[in-house]
């Protein structure tokens, strides 16, 4: 039998698409009835055509769905969503607070790290010509010495500008050190002074408020200062033409006032003096005097990799004659011996994070830390998000009935998804505003921790604000999507009949999230433990000298001939045993390297590059350094001015059995090739004088006088009192100069500040992430215990013990944590091993560290879960069972 045909579906669809709800059903029915009848008396095509024409006839205002159709009052529905959302919040305050607090703390940690990372990455990007500015690095291999310098000789930049068309401008910088500036009767130390070429302002964007940048640094005895320095001495900024009295004697005319340097610049000088003043800068040498930070500004469109070969061939051309005259070799022969002398460029914006060479102007950041912190931030964000998702899905069972009811009442799936996503986004927005609040409050502490001067107003940049909004939406949608899609797919019938099983398959997904979360936590625990131990190791390692109770007094060089008198009178004070006068201390980074040759013929392959420190006879004793062989310098022996004490590394390098009495030669004057002969008289035990990431380098002491600083060993426990007695002596002898001092161990810590800060930061953030994960676990455990109240009640009635039930409830979570630890620890081992390899002196990885990390994770999980489990287990079964 032929089935009665139906009119074209598409026509019905069109009708449904425009017709309003009031008529749609009834009219469609009518039209179908009409169609049925027509089919009896006419062919299908005719009936179809008439049907279509009927549909079209209804395209009239009375039948079309209006925009503001009175039958769908969306406002009421949204109001209902809010009401229900608020009630759910109130009904389960603990979960909701855990949810919001966890997310807020996590987001705020991310925000802080984000700002930190952003600041680190923003270094030197603000210069107008930033993309065209490069610094010249020099790599020298000479004998067995390899030096990576951030420096060049004095001629490099100017020659490059003259000989290579792609180089538009060049400028040099050199650290001046510090000087004293007179204000009234007082002398104030300015610590960040640099020698700079007059082209400084052509290359870098350092806006000059007063004065002419073209001429500012062209005359000797002038100075360019920053706004804040100007304010400090004159209380105003328009001070061009005024004079500063420097070091009591010199007067410098102020020729320019520039804006304060932004904190994201790789040097932080506050005063610039003209580089033309220094004679060193005029020296015509290519092989030596590598002391100048040289920057090149390339022309528009010039490519770095095209310029570098040009620079090297230029370098080779000029190097060759000098090399010949000093060591008697051509450049090719020099290279043939496996040596090299080459220049390379580093982009300005890479200097802060990617360059850690000898002669960096300021301690640099480390791209590794940026990556590490970024990873931690992502981990924390994930952990917080997982908490949110876990709690939301766990609670989904409670809301399954709501979903069922809504569906029965006619809610569409899309409306339900919208409801849950909106709820999640709103919760997330609430968490986000808390996060911003927390961030603002925590900012000062964070700054103290990182040593950065970040400002809470950084949060108000359009980038960050839009970032926050996007983050809120993404986190909201991501963490809301699982409950939204999962819940809205419930079959109302099964939910309302009660056959919907809470738990079940869903918990697989939740378990995966918990495992992931705990993997991150265990990883962070292990990482933090290792970093912490490594840092402790560095601090407690025998560095070869005794850095405790050493007081370093500055401004000694300004004392002139009063220096000896001061030393004598200080030594008479109670509590002061030893004092030495020299600027060469094992706490500041860089000094010149000198080549020492083992024979007067200047054989390159036996040359050794050593730092040369000028010390007096009290130095070794004051520092607590030990002589392994030989003797100390002595004022009584005239020949000691040509004596050397070398360190163990240098001795090993020279490799001769009887190193004492061995003669070493240094080129004193490159033009005349005059040699100075030194005799080794002692070997000092190795001590650290630069980053502990590196091995101790060869070093030589010579006997002489260098008067930058005086170091005093203070005895006894009343150090504060001793310091004030010293100050009294200072005042009586040199009241015109400020008494400035520091302690060696503080300075030493300063040397490792970067590592320490990062270590501390890591510890804090790791604890935070652990806290957030246990918060989530706590919520989950509470929920599980609640879900199983009846089961627990029945078990107790049947005779289960409290420990038995506690174990039952904890078991599942413990399994997850163990799984997480198994997955994570090998990965942590590999990564941390790699990190440690960066240090020349490092701890070895031991299994127990990882065991501790795993067990810590387990204990944290046990404590949070166990607390809830016991609470559930000790309940009287009557309470949970009587109401049914």
């Amino acid at each position: 039998m032929k089935r009665t045909s139906t009119p074209p579906r598409w026509a019905q669809k069109i009708f449904k698409s425009f017709c309003n709800d009031h008529l749609c059903e009834a009219v469609l029915g009518d039209m179908l009835e009409l169609y049925e009848r027509r089919r009896k008396s006419m062919p299908q095509w005719k009936a179809d055509a008439l049907f279509i024409s009927n549909v079209l006839q209804f395209i009239q205002p009375f039948a079309i769905r209006g925009k503001s159709s009175p039958s769908i009052n969306t406002f009421g529905m949204y109001k209902n969503y809010f009401t229900i959302g608020w009630r759910t919040f109130l009904k389960s305050k603990v979960y909701s607070l855990i949810n919001i607090a966890g997310l807020a703390v996590g987001l705020s940690a991310c925000l802080l790290i984000g700002l930190y990372v952003k600041h680190e990455l923003s270094y030197d990007r603000f210069h107008e010509k930033a993309s065209r500015i490069y610094r010249v690095n020099t790599d020298i291999k000479f004998g067995d010495n390899h030096m990576d310098l951030a420096l060049t000789n004095p001629l490099f930049g100017e020659t490059a500008k003259n000989e290579i068309p792609a180089v538009e401008q060049t400028t040099r910088l050199h650290r001046y050190g510090s000087f004293l500036v007179k204000k009234g009767n007082e002398n104030i130390r300015e610590g960040d002074v640099a020698w700079a070429d007059s082209t400084l302002f052509d290359v870098f964007t350092l806006p000059m408020i007063w004065g002419d940048p073209k001429t500012a640094l062209t005359e000797p005895n002038t100075i360019v200062i920053t706004e804040s320095v100007a304010r400090k001495y004159f209380d105003r900024t328009d001070v061009v033409g005024e004079t500063l009295t420097v070091d009591n004697t010199q007067s410098r005319k102020i020729t320019g006032v520039i804006k304060d340097l932004p904190s994201n610049m790789h040097f932080q000088f506050t005063s610039f003096v003209p580089l033309i003043e220094t004679n060193d800068a005029l020296e015509v040498t290519w092989t030596g005097n590598q002391n100048w930070n040289t920057y090149l500004l390339l022309k528009e469109g010039a490519k770095e990799d095209e310029v570098v070969p040009l620079l090297n061939s230029m370098l080779g051309r000029h190097l060759e004659p000098q090399l010949k005259s000093i060591i008697g070799k051509t450049l090719n022969e020099f290279h043939g011996d496996g040596n090299f002398f080459k220049a390379s460029l580093i982009a300005l914006s890479d200097i802060h994070l990617k360059s850690n060479r000898i002669g960096e102007l300021y301690g640099s950041g480390n791209i590794q830390y940026v990556y590490t912190f970024f990873t931690i931030a992502v981990c924390i964000l994930f952990i917080a998000m997982i908490n949110f998702m876990n709690l939301a899905t766990a609670r989904s069972a409670n809301r399954a009935r709501e979903v069922g009811m809504r569906k029965v009442m006619g809610s569409r799936k899309s409306a339900l998804i919208g409801q849950f996503i909106t709820e999640s986004i709103l919760t997330c927005a609430a968490a986000m505003s808390f996060a911003v609040g927390i961030t603002v409050i925590v900012f000062p502490f964070f700054n103290e921790l990182t040593g950065k001067a970040l400002d809470a107003t950084m949060l108000l940049t359009p980038q960050i604000v839009s970032g926050l909004i996007i983050l809120t939406l993404v986190v909201g949608i991501l963490s809301g999507s699982y409950p939204a899609f999962y819940l809205s797919a419930f079959q109302p019938v099964s939910v309302l009949k009660g056959t919907h099983i809470s738990g079940g398959k869903r918990s697989v997904f939740r378990n995966v999230l918990v495992v992931f979360q705990f993997s991150a936590s265990v990883f962070l625990i292990a990482g933090t433990l290792i970093v912490f131990r490594q840092l402790q190791y560095i601090q407690q390692r025998d560095v070869g000298f005794n850095r405790e109770q050493l007081l370093i007094i500055s401004n000694i060089d300004k004392l002139g001939d009063r220096k000896e008198a001061l030393k004598t009178s200080l030594l008479q004070l109670h509590g002061i045993e030893k004092a030495t006068v020299t600027g060469f201390l094992p706490v500041n980074y860089y000094r010149n390297n000198n080549s020492f040759f083992t024979s007067p013929s200047l054989e390159l392959k036996d040359a050794i590059s050593m730092q040369k420190w000028v010390i007096d006879q009290d130095y070794l004793e004051t520092m607590g350094m030990n002589l392994l062989e030989g003797r100390n310098f002595s004022e009584g022996i005239a020949a000691d001015t040509a004596s050397l004490i070398i360190n163990e590394t240098a001795a090993k390098f020279l490799g001769v059995r009887d190193i004492l009495e061995k003669k070493l030669y240094v080129v004193e004057d490159e033009d005349t090739k005059a040699l100075k002969e030194f005799r080794v008289i002692g070997i000092v035990k190795d001590f650290n004088f630069s980053s502990l990431r590196e091995r101790v380098k060869p070093l030589a002491f010579t006997f002489g006088s260098d008067d930058a600083l005086m170091t005093v060993r203070v005895e006894g426990s009343s150090i504060a009192q001793t310091v004030s007695t010293i100050e009294g002596t200072w005042q009586s002898m040199a009241s015109d100069l400020p008494f400035e001092y520091s302690f060696m161990d503080d300075d030493f810590d300063q040397l490792y500040k970067g590592e320490m800060q990062s270590g501390k930061l890591m510890t804090y953030f790791a604890s935070l992430s652990i806290f957030i994960s246990s918060l989530g676990l706590f919520g989950l455990a509470t929920f599980m215990a609640e879900k199983r109240t009846k089961e627990i009640g029945i078990r107790k009635v049947l005779g289960a013990s409290v420990p038995g039930i506690t174990a039952l409830l904890s078991k599942d979570f413990v399994k997850l944590v163990l799984l997480a630890a198994t997955i994570t620890l090998p990965a942590a081992w590999c990564l941390m091993d790699k990190w440690l390899q960066d240090f020349a002196y490092h701890i070895s990885l031991e299994w127990w560290i990882f065991a501790v990390a795993g067990v810590t994770g387990l204990i944290i999980a046990l404590v949070t879960v166990g607390f809830q489990a016991i609470k559930a287990a000790v309940q009287n079964p009557v309470n949970s069972l009587r109401s049914e």
Partner: protein
Amino acid sequence: MKGTYLGEFEELVLLSVGILFDDAYGFAIVDELEKQTGRNVMISAVHKALVRLEEKGYLKSRMGGSTETRGGRNKRLYQLTHAGRKVLAESRELRNDMWKQVPRIVWEGGK
């Protein structure tokens, strides 16, 4: 008064609803009108009138009474309201009144 005016077609639709009593829905009304007047009635016109009459308060409607021939779809069943009955009565009275006022001579062929 605006809104109380009843058009001719509307009056016919109201009457059809009355005739069909408990099965007055779009298609049946179309049928009824075609049967009574012999005119070709458009289904959209009928529904348009029904919507307007309901808005004016002369009709009320409910859903119900689906059959196999309508693809299982419900009908919108219409029913006269009190106001609807009253407006029909008024209309009829008006006509009667006016009938009476027409002189008999008109009817008798006006010789």
